[in-house]
């Protein structure tokens, strides 16, 4: 029977080509727009360390003096170097790392390349294992290198391509800030979205091109780049360990999410010790958020992207209402035909199914076209200069969602018109013929 209804539906749709095209295009536009924005939203709100993010925690504590203090204030986003180094020495997590952004000058050992500037990340060795960073060649450095302030570096795949044409460069050397560093590891493609570990800079930008031991970077006074906040007048280098400035991020990996309470207690204890020693002035103020909670708190998904998603779904709604209206008018115009079919023995259910099939065909055609439009829309997003642009592409999950949305849109749009059609009283229709 369904085959017959399908045939009827196609005949009916063919009879009114312009109208059918209008309905299909309207649904396609709505679905195309909503899938484009939904995909961008989905990509930007994803889990950057899947399978592990509930065990990764971001540490905050408030080391500022009482100036400008208000109760319940959020502690600074970053920690001081002294606190970061102390927590790292205590090593209470399974893994932990302190880190900060920087920039270094590189003098390539190649005739065709002039010196250029690199974005760098100064960190302790656990960053790589803790964040599941994929390495193409070599490995991260170890405790010894952190302790010895060794001249070692892990470089990005892009930098390895640029300097060594993608060959295994581990064991080789690069010259950074006029110092020779040994390359111990080369990253594979790693593009966490958002760039969660340091949200003070570009939130969806690419990761740094070179990773160096933090201890080494301080010994060589490599330049810091990022957000620094100081709260009292301080004479001297603001990146010194005792400086009243927050500029570093501190991440810790725990064995299980349940260990967070213990770790928080440790932080509170640390804070109270510092208070007792007179270093901290404020009432105990620490935060320990897991990765996804932290991203949510920071509202990393740009508000424009949220607005766009809302807009697209409102647009889809208008397109659907449009289609419902047109289908309704179309179905009711066939009241005579329905009356005849009912008089000849078709049940209300038969009529309902027949018209739902027609509506679903419209919805599916719109969905397929909409998928094409979404693909086009995402291509357009990728041409945008936004830092997240290159991340926007369809994946299997979103493909399935599109298909489901199209099907739902078609059935939903057909439900009311088909219901009205099957309620038609055959007697009146036959009389009025």
């Amino acid at each position: 029977m369904l085959g017959y209804y399908l045939d009827l539906a196609l005949r009916s749709l063919r009879r009114n080509k312009a109208l059918t095209a209008l309905m299909v295009v309207a649904i396609a536009l709505g679905i195309g727009a909503s899938m484009t924005t939904l995909t961008v939203f989905y990509v930007l709100s994803g889990d950057p360390v899947p399978g592990k993010s509930d065990r990764l925690f971001f540490v905050q504590m408030d080391p500022q003096d009482m100036n400008g203090y208000t109760p319940g204030v959020e502690p600074p986003e970053q920690v001081t170097r002294l606190d970061a180094e102390t927590l790292l020495r205590d090593g209470r997590g399974v893994r932990q790392a302190l880190m900060a952004g920087g920039s270094v000058a590189i003098e390539p050992d190649r005739e065709d390349l002039r010196p250029f500037y690199l974005r760098a990340r100064y960190t302790s060795k656990d960053l790589f294992e803790m964040f599941d960073v994929p390495l193409r060649y070599g490995s991260a450095w170890g405790d010894a290198e952190d302790g010895d302030r060794a001249r070692v570096a892990v470089i990005s795949a892009a930098l390895n391509d640029r300097l060594f044409d993608g060959a295994d460069s581990t064991g080789g050397s690069i010259r950074l800030n006029q110092t020779t560093f040994r390359i111990v590891g080369v990253l594979d493609e790693w593009r966490p979205a958002p760039r969660f570990y340091d949200l003070t800079g570009t939130q969806y930008g690419e990761v740094e091109e070179v990773f160096l031991p933090f201890s080494t970077s301080r010994e060589l006074s490599m330049s810091f780049s990022g957000n620094m906040s100081c709260w009292e007048r301080y004479q001297g280098d603001q990146t010194e360990s005792g400086a009243p400035c927050t500029w570093m991020q501190y991440w810790v990996e725990l064995a299980s999410p349940a260990d967070a309470a213990d770790y928080r207690a440790y932080l509170v204890n640390y804070y109270e010790q510092q208070s007792a020693a007179g270093r901290f002035e404020r009432p105990t103020n620490v935060r320990l958020r897991d990765l996804m909670t932290w991203l949510e708190f920071k509202q990393v998904v740009p508000s424009d992207v949220r607005l766009q998603t809302w807009l697209a779904f409102a647009f889809l709604l208008v397109c659907l209402i449009n289609t419902v209206g047109l289908l309704l008018a179309k179905f009711l115009r066939r009241s005579g035909e329905i009356g005849v079919r009912r008089a000849l023995g078709a049940s209300r259910r038969d009529i309902l199914v027949q018209f739902l099939v027609e509506a679903t065909v419209v919805g599916l055609a719109g969905g397929v076209l909409g998928l094409g439009l979404a693909w086009l829309g995402l291509w357009a997003v990728r041409q945008q200069p936004a830092s997240y642009a290159d991340l926007a592409s369809l994946d299997p999950v979103m493909l399935a969602t599109t298909f489901g949305l199209a099907l739902a849109a078609g059935v939903l749009a057909g439900l009311l018109p088909a219901w009205r059609a099957c309620r038609i009283t055959p007697a009146i229709q036959l009389k009025s013929q």
Binding site: A26, Y117, Q235, R306, L311, N322, G325, L326, L328
Partner: protein, 409 residues
């Protein structure tokens, strides 16, 4: 035109008419908010910075080797840049509006104050900075050479006194409303106060940190820009010579010291910085325009589609009316009035919805309330859209010959 028969007909097509009205309501609500958002973005994109934007280019360099006397090198750089044809003035600077870096500081009115009076952004640079930026002084004067302090000294020597500050009008109005700010003391940098020696009309903040850049909570201080690691030059040129100066300027700077890296993405015209800074707003404004157009087109096509159906459905009745003496104009008028009634219901609902959406957006985006004149404007747009959409089907209805009434019985 008697509306009773129209209302009677509409009552028989409640659902279809209701759907069109709903579509019009949603379009009206979304389009009026979208147009409002577009206006908001355009205001943002067009905000004045206070600088002579069309005449400015910016250079940024970073060193590879450590320089013995960076201040001397900066002086040499400035001389080299001044020698480039078309250059009018040159200054070192720490930050520019819509640039990539920003300095913030708290401003106090008392020496030992618990809570800062306000947050300001601090512009510092070499002696010709005010002139180079092209800022317009509302009152007071530029800094005099004796007031300048070297950055390294200001940073490390607690005894050093920075004697003067120039504030934006926004800062002056906030600190001393209705009073003359000149000669008043503020504490921005160091233990000693700074006296306000000048007020500039506009000076945008570098970015939106701590409030929109259009707030202009900015001050200028007579401190040289840091030159230790990287160095920024702001150069005011004849507008037509910007690209030439950029090219020749890089060559001149490399001649001073070749072992430096010129950062290409920071060595550009001021307008390029502005374009980059507002690119997301521009993209969003265009996207909103696209949504508005798409919504109006879909709504118009929906009206055309439904009206066409009704015309087909009522062909016989139209024929009868024509046979009974109705003119073509009356038939057209019937459909136009019908559309007007549906549109009016939709628009009325749309206005309520528009305010509801605006209320939700106000909470999230710090937007002001939708100005009242958007409502009549939106109503006129949708009424016009409805009338134009229904015109085609109405004309087709008017073309129905009276003979149809007799033929089809």
């Amino acid at each position: 035109m008697n509306v009773h028969p129209i209302l009677a007909t509409l009552r028989r097509h409640k659902t279809a008419a209701g759907l069109i009205a709903l579509e019009i309501a949603l379009s009206c609500a979304i389009v009026s908010n979208a147009v409002f958002l577009i206006g908001d973005r355009l205001d943002r994109i067009r905000q004045p910075s206070g600088l002579a934007e069309a005449e400015l280019v910016h250079f940024q360099l970073v060193g590879i080797t450590r320089v013995e006397d960076p201040e001397a090198q900066a002086a040499e750089d400035i001389a080299a840049l001044r020698a480039v044809p078309g250059v009018r003035s040159v200054a070192t600077v720490n930050q520019i509006p819509f640039g990539n870096s920003s300095w913030y500081s708290s401003l106090n009115l008392e020496p030992e104050q618990q809570n800062p009076t306000m947050q300001v952004t601090t512009y510092v640079g070499s002696e010709d900075l005010l002139e180079t930026m092209g800022l317009s002084l509302v009152s007071g004067r530029d800094f005099v050479p004796e007031e300048y302090v070297e950055f390294q000294q200001a940073q490390s020597d607690p005894e050093v006194v920075i004697p003067a500050v120039i504030v934006s009008r926004a800062v002056a109005d906030r600190l001393f409303p209705g009073e003359n700010p000149l000669g008043r003391s503020v504490y921005v940098w160091g233990a000693a106060p700074q006296r306000i020696v000048g007020v500039v009309e506009h000076l945008a903040k570098p970015n939106d940190i701590g409030g929109p850049s259009s707030e202009h909570t900015s001050v200028l201080m007579p401190v040289s820009a840091p030159v230790q690691y990287g160095i920024n030059y702001l150069v005011r040129v004849d507008a037509g010579r910007r690209d030439g100066v950029l090219e020749e300027g890089v060559a001149a700077l490399e001649a001073v010291n070749p072992s430096r890296i010129v950062l290409e993405d920071r060595t550009r015209t001021f307008e390029a910085f502005r374009d980059d800074y507002f690119q997301d707003d521009r993209a969003m404004a265009w996207l909103l325009v696209g949504v508005c157009v798409a919504l109006l087109v879909v709504t118009a096509l929906g009206i055309v589609g439904l009206a066409s159906f009704w015309v087909q459905q009522r062909t016989r009745q139209i024929g009868i009316r024509r046979a009974l003496g109705a003119t073509r104009g009356q038939i057209i008028g019937y459909f136009q009035t019908e559309n007007f009634l549906i549109a009016t219901i939709g628009i009325a609902a749309g206005m309520v919805l528009a305010y509801a959406i605006n209320g939700a957006l106000m909470g999230r985006y710090e937007l002001p309330r939708l100005p009242w004149y958007y409502l009549p404007l939106g109503a006129v747009v949708l009424w016009t859209l409805g009338q134009l959409s229904v015109l085609g089907p109405a004309l087709r209805a008017a073309a129905v010959p009276p003979a149809v009434a007799t033929r089809s019985v």
